[in-house]
């Protein structure tokens, strides 16, 4: 079976003043068309840099050394010329960031920003056509009075509204792959739950594949079909979401799971900072698309 995204043996190192720091040590990850895959790990584990490599952004950073194969839709994007890679962004793949308010441009209206995104795919589009499509998209993410929102600036909207605008904007060009980096962690819990449900329904409807990045296994359980757990630049466990939750095989996955506070009040467990068990070999649950 061919994958929409196929990452093989991905390595990343940053060259700094004190020599070379290795960040990713051979990551293998794949996503089928329309599949929702989560990449879970703590801060600094290499989640966000993986997404940035898929977007082709990190390769353009001078001190980053990327090696390995990243195939998108059958084409290795690491071998692609810069301009072709740039053309994929915002059209074939798009990204949603953690903090919606700071990732939208404060000096343009929502309508203008929509038009900019849509013209990446179709440069000849006039503002009226853009507005019609944008209003359609905003209605899909349940924004009341979409026409009014188009004339607004991001700072006039609440964080939850901005998050929905981001989702609508990311999906307006019908991308094949959506990269979502901790969407909603900047929002409060009830708004976050709402936006995630919305995003879930929308990507299902449009058959968009998602790479969902998070540190919270609770959030992942409700969103993803399949999960990769990453620790210090290595995948430590992977499998269908149910298998990971019912039968976590790796010590690190269990630690992540234990760290999520329970509404049943099981107390707060002692979570070790480092443990030799965390470096144990990868656990692979069969099933799912991989």
């Amino acid at each position: 079976m061919s994958h929409l995204l196929d990452i093989q043996d991905l390595h990343l190192a940053f060259k700094g003043l004190k020599g070379v720091t290795e960040v990713l040590h051979g990551v293998d990850l794949n996503i089928a068309a329309g599949e929702r895959v989560a990449l879970v790990g703590e801060s600094g584990s290499g989640k966000s840099v993986t997404a940035r490599i898929v977007l082709g952004l990190l390769q353009e950073t001078r001190n980053a050394r990327v090696s390995g194969r990243v195939a998108f839709d059958g084409v290795d994007i690491t071998a692609m010329p810069l301009r072709d890679r740039a053309r994929l962004r915002g059209t074939e793949m798009s990204m949603i960031f953690q903090d919606p308010t700071s990732s939208l441009n404060p000096t343009f209206t929502i309508g203008n920003q929509f038009a900019e995104v849509m013209r990446r795919r179709d440069p000849g589009l006039d503002q009226t056509a853009c507005n019609v499509r944008a209003i359609e998209m905003l209605a899909e993410v349940s924004i009341p009075e979409p026409a009014r929102v188009l004339a607004n600036y991001p700072f006039q909207l609440s964080g939850g509204m901005n998050q929905r605008v981001m989702i609508a904007m990311a999906l307006v060009n019908n991308p094949k792959l959506l990269l979502a980096d901790e969407p909603g962690t900047a929002l409060d819990v009830s708004v976050q739950a709402q936006t995630l449900r919305l995003m879930h329904d929308l990507v299902e409807k449009h058959h968009t594949a998602v790479l969902f990045i998070s540190h919270n296994l609770g959030v992942v359980r409700e969103f993803a079909d399949r999960v990769y757990v990453i620790y210090r630049g290595r995948i430590v466990e992977t499998g269908p979401t149910d298998a990971i939750f019912h039968n976590p095989g790796h010590a690190y996955t269990r630690a992540l799971m234990d760290a999520v506070p329970r509404i049943t009040g099981a107390g707060l467990p002692e979570v070790p900072e480092v443990s030799d068990d965390f470096l144990a070999p990868m656990v692979r649950h069969e099933g799912g698309a991989s």
Partner: protein, 265 residues
């Protein structure tokens, strides 16, 4: 014994769009040694309430009593020392140009705690107490991880030997592993130093594991107040039920509780 009493507290902001009632006629008490969680979504008035307890904001009407006496609008140094604050974002709440030791020491100098020659030792004690190493006082905030910075924020508050600590979303900027460690630390410190917490958060799962009682806020009003077990097993207000229902859960027992609450709505 009651440490903090909030009585008919109201705060109205006058904006160009008319008055905004941020906190409306709120009354509750906090017992000494207790952890009271204040929960609600963004804009429910949680932070305005915290600012009034801290004396950063004056109230429109109503009264706050601390240890039996009414708190004046302009707080004395004694009051400011006794009520300390831990902020949400540890990076923006520490001065980037000061070493973290200097930030922690600032409170000791301001309130004249201990003798001058002894203060660096006190700073190091405070850092040790929150699980940091003593020599870390020379470091800049930028050289620390998010979890370490939040520990510095806690050390800074505790160095002033407070009776009441107001914590405004102390762990919502941290990842789950770091959050679990910081919450454990906060629980330990409260028990060890007989501290009283007003713990502001929107995360009900956190509340379940740290608070003795929960106060639920919606649009500036206190809509439900009760013991933590009671709020989670039988929430009365549908809004509280929704808040609990929004928490992402990981295990089966939690799922059952959530489904049970959803059925009752």
């Amino acid at each position: 014994m009651t440490l903090l009493t909030v009585e008919n507290l109201t705060k109205t902001f006058h904006t160009t769009n008319g008055p905004v009632h941020a906190v409306r006629d709120v009354s509750f008490e906090v017992e000494r040694g207790e952890c009271l969680a204040v929960v609600g979504e963004s804009g429910s008035g949680k932070t305005t309430l915290a600012n009034m307890i801290l004396g950063i904001l004056g109230s429109t009407s109503g009264e706050i009593r601390f240890d039996g006496a009414a708190l004046p609008a302009k707080r004395t140094a004694t009051h400011r020392r006794a009520i300390q604050f831990v902020q949400q974002n540890p990076l923006s709440s520490l001065n980037p140009k000061r070493s973290i030791g200097a930030s922690v020491r600032l409170g000791l100098d301001t309130y004249g705690i201990g003798i001058r020659a002894d203060r660096w030792r006190k700073v190091e004690d405070a850092l040790e107490e929150v699980g940091l190493s003593r020599d870390m006082r020379h470091r800049a905030p930028s050289a620390l991880s998010g979890g370490q910075r939040q520990r510095v924020g806690i050390a800074r508050a505790l160095a002033c030997e407070p009776e009441l600590v107001v914590l405004d979303e102390p762990t919502s900027a941290l990842d789950v592993l770091v959050q679990a460690r910081v919450l454990r630390l906060l629980n330990d410190l409260r028990a060890r130093k007989q501290l009283t917490y007003v713990f502001i958060t929107h995360d009900l799962a956190v509340v379940r594991n740290v608070a003795d009682r929960v106060a639920v806020f919606k649009s500036g009003q206190l809509i439900e107040l009760g013991r933590t077990e009671q709020i989670f097993s039988a929430p009365e207000h549908p809004y509280t039920r929704n808040l609990i229902g929004a928490v992402p859960v990981v295990d089966y027992a939690e799922l059952q509780l959530r489904n049970k609450l959803a059925e009752e709505t």
